[in-house]
């Protein structure tokens, strides 16, 4: 955190000053470790074993917060009789479908009722039959004593029983006493008077079980009562100025603004079905119709009306996974013709960079927008495979447009930071030359397309013709008015066009328009709330008057949980929001995350529907039953409970189950994306993990051109322990060549005790640290870490695994510039794997999974497979 979010880290130091214990768990000893009380070096990719052992410790030592767990989580819910755990199936849950190669989550459901998830793969629950789907949760069966062997609490307890300190040593290479020190510190600091927080970044997400890493932390925090209370929570430290915003207003394939799912080709065939399949009968998602209708009104204005389903059929339909890696694979196979790259640099920042560039070579046209031509814009002339002569510019047909972008100081707009806070940045100066904002680019591109399609009779072109696309143009450069766009996002009533002040004002009858329901209120009363800058010293510590946080300017989610079931603060030290019996409403430092006038004693009556099903003690209002999920009955593709699986390319056999890797993981079996052996590949004996350093930013587009930063970290380097250096004859400051079957890179070596070998299952494990900032253009260049990584991903969110994979490292500058993306595997792929023999990643029933879904047969056939 001190490495990549130093200013956010000032609050950790503030806490430390006030006596907090800082625990840092990381394969490396970083700038964070340097000021932490405890540093725990962990084998990259083994976090679930560690966190699972915490769950086990908390339950077996009775450190859990009973009143919180019983009332605020689904611990008491009874689970379907058919459910079988990984304990019973050697690493698989019940419901595995060998044909489809995926889980059918039916057997994971609550007894008596099928709930749909608040987020995640809601489509899993759109399949027939859906009669009881999302039915009023009152039908759910509970065991408040938490003793029924089929209740969530007992299932969780059994599932993690084998996650002992010894297993932690076996899987993570962490000594039991060190683990116990951490466990004790965490439990001692949780309860009525104290709370503990978890912070993570992509070190948790970039794994084939990334989502489950975070789920495990959620279980720990729910058991300890650390969610929805000040000083608690699980904080994602996000790496870009508006990466949160680009998820809320998603430039992501599977969502519409406000986490509304994209229409699925197979069933969301019209608005009625779309709503039926995606709304929930209980919980907040019962409000679903209001949000989609208001969105359609915002997009298609007066053309959207009840008679034409509010132009619902203008929306494109997805038919499976259209995420980044799937798209690039399809690109490499020639199915994608045109590509917009806006302020991103996949040729450096995305996994298996040479496959990324192969995709770019197969395009008809490419548009790149950035400060200066990045590696992505320059792929056709200075990429390694071009230098190597495997590819010639004269043979690359791609037409490339590079548009210079405007800086944030040259345009108005809002960023949403990692804590969901929208902050407005004002234009300071005019952009130079032909530099323009993306707002300008997209708006004027849209105007041109509307012109091109103006007279088209073709029904496919109606969406463009009917698109509401009128924004005020400012100045010579005709910059569209960003605040007008924000006004559209915030929404207004119709026809009088009064700005809305909260998403509770939205309607499903077309009388409101709103571009993103969770952002509704960001321009309350027509005032740009995101531009509020009331000095911190002129308001309390929650600082509600600085910027605007979604939803409803709420600074802490689930904050209903900061009060006990009766609505009284758990303790004075930790009071945040509470029920005021006089005023008959919830009040406190923050905007309460519940229905403000719903008393704690309210219980839903029989047959209650919609948000009336939320009782007065339900803090997690987005969930169908208002509870925090220790156990995940739906929404995840790889199981209801986090389970330790090894990375795709590991050095170890899974110490816990016969199933080596996440059975539901996404693989791309293709010549340009070969894999190492499942474990113990003698050619690639070391663990590698990639990361950033303070002095540079992600793929370097905003840092490798700046001399003030380059002088601080001038060259690509790798970090190894003195032990590994001794083993491989590496010298500090000298050169090393790091290779995988996909590529080889050269880098300077820093030999340092900040990395250390771990003893796991009696073997010494060496880890190689690889920063990923550098590549072949800019004022500071070097080989890119992502030349090494592979396409392989978490099934839930299609995020790749770059935080744990196997490599070889040797001394000297020996890297060939050959790349799997250009010439295929650099070594024999998975020897002894052709026949599916040992070592195998999967149990026999999983092995039958056809790699087809993702991989060679990508592109159109594959894209529409699920339809």
């Amino acid at each position: 955190m001190a490495e990549c979010h130093p200013v956010g880290f000032q609050w950790v130091m503030e806490a430390k000053r006030r006596g907090a214990t800082i625990i840092h768990i990381d394969p490396r000893f970083t700038r964070t470790s340097a000021v932490s009380d405890i540093h725990v070096p962990i084998r990259a990719g083994s976090d679930i074993a560690f966190l699972g052992a915490l769950v086990n410790y908390i339950i077996s030592n009775d450190c859990w917060f009973r009143e919180y767990v019983v009332n605020y989580t689904n611990a008491s819910a009874l689970i379907s009789e058919d459910f079988q755990d990984t304990e019973d199936l050697d690493g698989l849950f019940s419901g595995w479908d060998p044909e489809k190669g995926q889980y059918d989550p039916k057997s994971w459901q609550y007894r008596g009722v099928e709930v749909s998830p608040a987020a995640g793969h809601r489509e899993m629950f759109s399949g027939e039959p859906r009669s009881e789907r999302g039915a009023s949760i009152t039908a759910e069966e509970h065991d408040p004593t938490l003793t029924d062997p089929k209740c969530v609490f007992q299932i969780v307890k059994r599932h993690y029983a084998r996650y002992t300190p010894e297993v932690v040593q076996q899987a993570c290479g962490i000594a039991p006493d060190l683990f116990l020190k951490v466990a004790r510190a965490l439990c001692d600091n949780s309860g009525l008077e104290r709370t503990s927080a978890f912070c993570y970044a992509v070190g948790w997400t970039q794994h084939t079980v990334g989502v489950q890493f975070i789920r495990t932390a959620a279980i720990v925090q729910l058991l300890l009562g650390n969610i929805g209370r000040p000083g608690g929570g699980i904080m994602a430290l996000r790496g870009h100025s508006s990466i949160q915003g680009s998820t809320d207003i998603p430039t992501l394939y599977n969502m519409l603004p406000g986490y509304l799912p994209m229409p699925k080709a197979s069933y969301d065939t019209d608005l009625e079905k779309y709503i039926e399949y995606n709304r929930s009968a209980s919980g907040w998602w019962s409000e679903f119709p209001k949000y989609i209708v208001s969105l359609l009104k915002a997009w298609y204005g007066n053309n959207a009306s009840a008679v034409n389903d509010y132009c619902y059929n203008y929306l494109p339909h997805i038919s499976g996974d259209h995420s980044h890696m799937v798209t690039v694979a399809a690109m490499a196979d020639g199915f994608v013709k045109g590509y917009f790259v806006l302020g991103e640099n996949p040729a450096v920042g995305s996994m298996n960079a040479s496959l990324q560039r192969k995709g770019l070579r197969k395009l008809e046209w490419l548009v790149v927008r950035d400060f200066a031509p990045t590696e992505t814009a320059e792929f056709w002339r200075s990429a390694p495979e071009v230098v190597a002569g495997d590819v010639k510019p004269e043979e690359i047909a791609t037409e490339v447009f590079f548009f210079p972008c405007a800086a944030h100081t040259e345009k108005d707009g809002s960023f949403t930071n990692t804590q969901r806070l929208l902050q407005w940045h004002h234009k300071a100066i005019e952009p130079p030359g032909d530099c323009r904002s993306e707002l300008h680019f997209v708006y004027h591109l849209g105007k041109r397309l509307k012109e091109l399609y103006r007279d088209s009779p073709d029904s496919k072109d109606h969406p463009i013709r009917d698109l509401a696309w009128n924004y005020r143009e400012i100045g010579e450069i005709q910059e569209p008015d960003a605040e007008e766009v924000l006004a559209e996002i915030n929404g207004h009533s119709l026809p009088d066009e009064k700005p809305l002040s909260a998403y509770t004002e939205l309607n499903e009858d077309g009388s409101t328009a709103c571009g993103c329901w969770i952002y509704c209120g960001c321009r309350k009363d027509g005032v740009n709330q995101t531009a509020r800058r009331t000095p911190k010293d002129e308001q309390d510590w929650v600082a509600l008057e600085w910027g605007w946080a979604w939803p409803a300017n709420r600074r802490m989610l689930y904050n209903r949980a900061s009060a006990d079931p009766e609505g009284k603060p758990w303790s004075q030290r930790k009071k945040y929001v509470w029920w005021d019996p006089e005023q008959k409403k919830w009040t406190g430092y923050d905007n309460p995350d519940c229905i403000a006038t719903r008393p704690p004693e309210y219980r839903p009556p029989e047959g209650a529907q919609g948000i009336d099903t939320l009782s007065g003690i339900d803090p997690f209002i987005m969930q169908a039953e208002g509870k925090g999920w220790l156990y995940d009955p739906s929404g995840l593709l790889d199981g209801p409970l986090p389970t330790h699986y090894e990375p795709q390319e590991s050095v170890l056999k899974n110490p816990l189950y016969g199933q080596q890797c996440n059975p539901a993981r996404l693989e791309w079996v293709r010549r340009d994306n070969p894999y190492h052996k499942a474990w113990g590949d003698p050619r690639y004996p070391f663990i590698a993990t990639t990361y950033r350093v303070t002095e540079h930013h992600t793929a370097g587009g905003m840092s490798r051109w700046l001399p003030w930063l380059n002088e601080l970290q001038p060259e690509m380097f790798v970090e190894v322990s003195p032990e590994l250096a001794g083993l491989r004859g590496l010298e500090n400051g000298g050169w090393a060549t790091v290779s995988t079957i996909r590529g080889e890179i050269e880098a300077r070596v820093l030999v340092t005790e900040r990395l250390q070998p771990l003893v796991v299952q009696g073997q010494v494990m060496h880890q190689v640290g690889i920063p990923y900032h550098w590549s072949y253009v800019g004022r500071s260049t070097g080989d890119a870490a992502n030349e090494l990584t592979a396409f392989v991903a978490d099934p839930n969110v299609s995020i790749e695994e770059s935080k744990a994979f196997s490599v070889q490292i040797v001394a000297g500058r020996r890297a060939s510039r050959r790349r799997a993306g250009a010439v295929g595997p650099l070594a024999a792929p998975e020897p002894g794997q052709e026949d599916g023999g040992e070592p195998s990643r999967d149990l026999p029933e999983v092995r039958t999974k056809k790699p087809a879904t993702h991989g060679e047969r990508s592109g159109r056939q594959q894209q529409t497979e699920e339809a």
């Binding site: 130091m13 540093h39 930063l709 002088e711 970290q713 250390q756």
Partner: protein, 262 residues
């Protein structure tokens, strides 16, 4: 005007180098060029005419008291800067008056006066100031004299995320430093010590306006253990010169006498 300065508390430094960049940004200093030094994450290595804040990175195969690690190891950082000594060698050696003591007690180098005689370079007991050959003049930290004049705090102190660099009236800084030292000692961090805070700590400079809290010996951070400002001792040298001059006169008289005889 009250003396103002820096208290740099290395025990909360996270080595982010924001101070180095903020200083270059505010003063619009050029970069030193890209050179990979192999010295942990320290690639600028020392204070220079173009680097007025420098962060040192110490890797030690020794535990830091109060810290739990899997093996004995610690990583220390220190943001070094001109010390703005109460008796400043550079200031007292400067023959042109380019170096002056400001109303804030800081030592300011007037770039419009300096003629690059280079005497300050050898007179600084900390190796801070240096002459930039292609510019011809000597340069060093100004303690953001321009900012102080309008009541702003120096760029490095402002940007420091963890308040490792703390700016203020030296009197208050000393109180703060003492409190911090006691707190650390109470927590069992016995290696914590103050460097150059008062004349008692450092008679050779009569105390620094930019002083430090260290977690290891000064020399481990490339700080002199007991620096002495040369001008404090120059008196006897002048005496010796007087003596020598007298001898010279005597020699000359003797010689001329020798010539006088027939």
């Amino acid at each position: 005007m009250e003396p103002h300065g820096f208290f740099t508390d290395t025990s909360v430094c996270i080595g982010c180098k924001a101070c180095e960049v903020a200083c270059k940004q505010w003063n619009q200093l050029p970069a030193d060029g890209a050179y990979f030094s192999g010295r942990s994450y320290d690639n600028t290595m020392h204070l220079e005419s173009t680097t007025w804040r420098h962060v040192a990175f110490l890797e030690r195969s020794r535990q830091l008291s109060g810290q739990t690690t899997a093996r004995p190891f610690s990583w220390l950082f220190l943001s070094d800067v001109c010390k703005h000594c109460n008796r400043a060698g550079c200031l007292e050696a400067c023959p042109t008056g380019a170096l002056v003591r400001t109303e804030f007690a800081s030592v300011y180098l007037q770039p419009d006066v300096c003629n690059g005689c280079g005497y300050c370079v050898v007179a600084c007991p900390f190796g801070v100031i240096n002459r930039r050959e292609d510019d011809g003049r000597a340069w060093k930290c100004t303690l953001c004299y321009d900012r102080q004049k309008v009541g702003l705090e120096p760029a490095c102190a402002k940007t420091c995320p963890t308040d490792s660099i703390f700016f203020g009236p030296v009197g208050e800084l000393q109180v703060r430093a003492q409190a911090r030292l006691l707190e650390l000692h109470r927590k069992g961090v016995h290696e914590a010590r103050l460097y150059g805070m008062t004349e008692l700590d450092q008679p050779g400079t009569e105390g620094l306006n930019a002083f430090f809290l260290l977690l290891d010996r000064p020399e481990a951070y490339n700080l002199p253990p007991e620096p002495r400002v040369p001008t404090k001792e120059v008196g006897r040298a002048w005496g010796m010169m007087g003596l020598a001059a007298a001898g010279m006169v005597a020699a000359a008289i003797a010689a001329v006498r020798a010539g006088g005889e027939k």
